[in-house]
């Protein structure tokens, strides 16, 4: 006979998925930078920019397109393109299996969404890279989708915006990925000759072969505040020079200072910035 008898079921007895009386999970989000808790809805209304310190959270490609197109509506292009694993690459797992699981995890066919729609009433083409899909890396599919987008912009004479978020070329497709840098850059030469505007928006992070090709080739190159933008990744550079890198190295503001960005544009102002720039170039 126990001295005390348990009146209520113990914590362990409570089913894991039972509704708790006060549910805060997901309603508040702590800022990654200043640790300020922010009401999730307020954060979303502010396009995932911290209302306290202005830190720009990473956002996915779909959210980016919804944010830039009028009423969040757009038409997707070349969504059926999928890689056929040209090298039969195997690392910790088979590349085609990795692609399959990425597809189901992100609900995207590859690391870019190519879309047309209206931006403040004007038809534009926007390609947004998805960092969650193998680090936003560029293989044959990303290369082809962006090249086709450029060709569409030339034929239809509509402005192009590419929003980058990528670690660079996709290792699992070897030299085929590398050649996408040349393929896209050559297509941008044609866009340039056709005098169709192209604005490159670099977001956190934009590195490697993406920076070293289309991201740096805009008629205007802009960065989101605090975004990491560079050719070599900071870890590679640290290994080369065997020193810690200075604070702010390879961030948007650093690139602005060194003359490689036209502007650092806050996410909340991006749509209007694009509108003003395109109007200046195209009207």
């Amino acid at each position: 006979m126990a001295w005390f008898t348990r009146q209520k079921p113990s914590v362990e007895d409570t089913p894991a998925d039972a509704e708790k009386s006060v549910r805060t999970e997901g309603l508040w989000q702590k800022c990654e930078k200043c640790s300020q808790p922010i009401w999730r809805k307020t954060l979303e209304e502010n396009l995932l920019v911290c209302t306290n310190c202005g830190h720009h959270f990473r956002i996915d490609a779909t959210a980016r397109l919804r944010m830039l197109f009028d009423e969040g509506k757009y038409e997707e292009h070349d969504a059926g393109l999928v890689s056929n694993d040209p090298l039969g690459f195997v690392d910790s797992r088979r590349y085609h299996e990795r692609l399959d699981s990425m597809r189901s995890a992100t609900n995207l066919p590859d690391a870019v969404i190519s879309a047309t729609g209206l931006l403040n009433g004007r038809r534009v083409h926007i390609c947004a890279l998805e960092l969650k899909f193998i680090g936003g890396s560029m293989g044959a599919v990303v290369g082809e989708k962006i090249t086709r987008a450029i060709e569409r912009c030339i034929t239809e004479r509509i402005p192009l915006v590419i929003v980058s978020a990528s670690g660079g070329a996709r290792m699992q497709e070897g030299a085929i990925s590398l050649m996408q840098l040349a393929k896209i850059s050559a297509a941008l030469m044609k866009l340039d000759e056709a005098r169709v505007p192209y604005i490159s928006v670099m977001t956190d992070p934009t590195t490697g072969g993406v920076t070293a090709s289309f991201a740096m080739l805009g008629d205007m190159n802009v960065g989101e505040p605090g975004a990491l933008i560079g050719f070599a990744g900071p870890r590679v550079i640290e290994q080369t020079i065997r020193q810690k890198l200075p604070e702010g190295f390879q961030r948007s503001e650093f690139l602005l200072d060194h003359g490689f960005l036209d502007a650092v544009v806050k996410r909340t102002e991006l749509k209007n910035f694009l509108d003003r720039s395109i109007r200046f170039l195209a009207d």
């Binding site: 290792m171 297509a187 050719f231």
Partner: protein, 298 residues
């Protein structure tokens, strides 16, 4: 990397059909891709200046990017090929320690790419073919290179090379390290020496990412399909320049004369094309490159 242990300790050539010495990890010795990577980095392998000396006459080096400086890993200048004026741009690694330091181990900084495109445009202006000799572990990953826009310099070359109205022939003579190599490689004809490699990432870095162990580089070299044979099969290059038995390091003259034959044939092939024809030829070549996807109907 300049302090790459594999580069530093690779003194002994690994012949193609050599019996496996005891004690070495088996993947190193049974893997032809890795053997070729080692030959591509062989300390006695002919470098750009060795070829320039043998294949061209009257080479006159031209310096500077007109913005910042003169990159020593990138060399360029005019020369004569079989009596015909051509512009040569190349990457030079240096052989002894002093030369390697002077050449920054063949890893160009932005001013190297800007010098190269300046000279290529000069060639275009006066209708001279461009011959590009590629040999770099990669564009230099350093603070100064980033400050001066390494990514922008590479990107700019990729776009501007596709606009050149003169014949452009590129040959990977040793290492073809990613964007730093491609930035001299947007050509009408792209060749590789038999033991050269061309890759999106070094086998060491690839192994470090996948297995967290750069010692597994031989496996990565195999997986990345970076040899001339692999890339010819993938239609990324147009041909292979045969090397003397056991590698170019054994006979610089023979390697140079094979290169001369390749260049001669390539120039002859491109001779009928006019400016617009050359631009379209180059554009279509890269436009088709890497069509390794399928189109699913949704």
């Amino acid at each position: 990397m300049p302090d790459d242990p594999i580069v530093a300790t690779n003194d002994a050539p690994v012949p193609d059909e050599a019996p496996a010495p005891t004690g070495a990890p088996p993947e190193v010795l049974t893997n032809p891709s890795w053997q070729r990577v080692q030959l591509a980095r062989h300390p006695k392998r002919p470098q750009a200046l060795d070829y320039i000396e043998r294949v061209f006459t009257g080479f006159e080096e031209l310096h500077g990017d007109r913005f910042y400086g003169d990159d020593k890993a990138t060399i360029g200048g005019f020369a004569y090929f079989e009596g015909r004026p051509v512009m040569v741009v190349a990457q030079q690694k240096g052989k002894d320690t002093k030369a390697k330091l002077f050449r920054n181990f063949g890893m160009p900084k932005p001013e190297g790419y800007r010098k190269a495109i300046r000279l290529m445009r000069l060639a275009d202006k006066f209708g001279r073919p461009v011959i590009s000799l590629i040999d770099t572990a990669g564009a230099f990953p350093g603070v100064d290179a980033e400050e001066r826009g390494q990514a922008e310099a590479v990107a700019y070359n990729l776009r501007e090379m596709s606009r050149l109205g003169c014949p452009v022939i590129a040959v990977v003579i040793g290492e073809g390290g990613s964007g730093g190599a491609l930035a001299l490689g947007v050509a009408n004809r792209v060749y590789m020496l038999e033991n050269a490699y061309y890759s999106v990432i070094s086998p060491e870095s690839c192994a470090a990412i996948i297995w967290r162990d750069s010692g597994k580089a031989p496996l990565a070299a195999e997986a990345l399909k970076m040899t001339a044979q692999d890339l010819l099969g993938l239609k990324i290059i147009d041909g292979i320049v045969k090397e003397p038995a056991e590698g170019a390091q054994n006979d610089h003259d023979a390697a140079a004369s094979a290169l001369r034959e390749t260049l001669k044939n390539a120039l002859a092939e491109l001779a009928p094309l006019d400016r617009q024809g050359l631009i379209s030829d180059r554009y279509e070549k890269f436009r088709r490159m890497g069509n390794f996807f399928r189109e699913e109907t949704l």
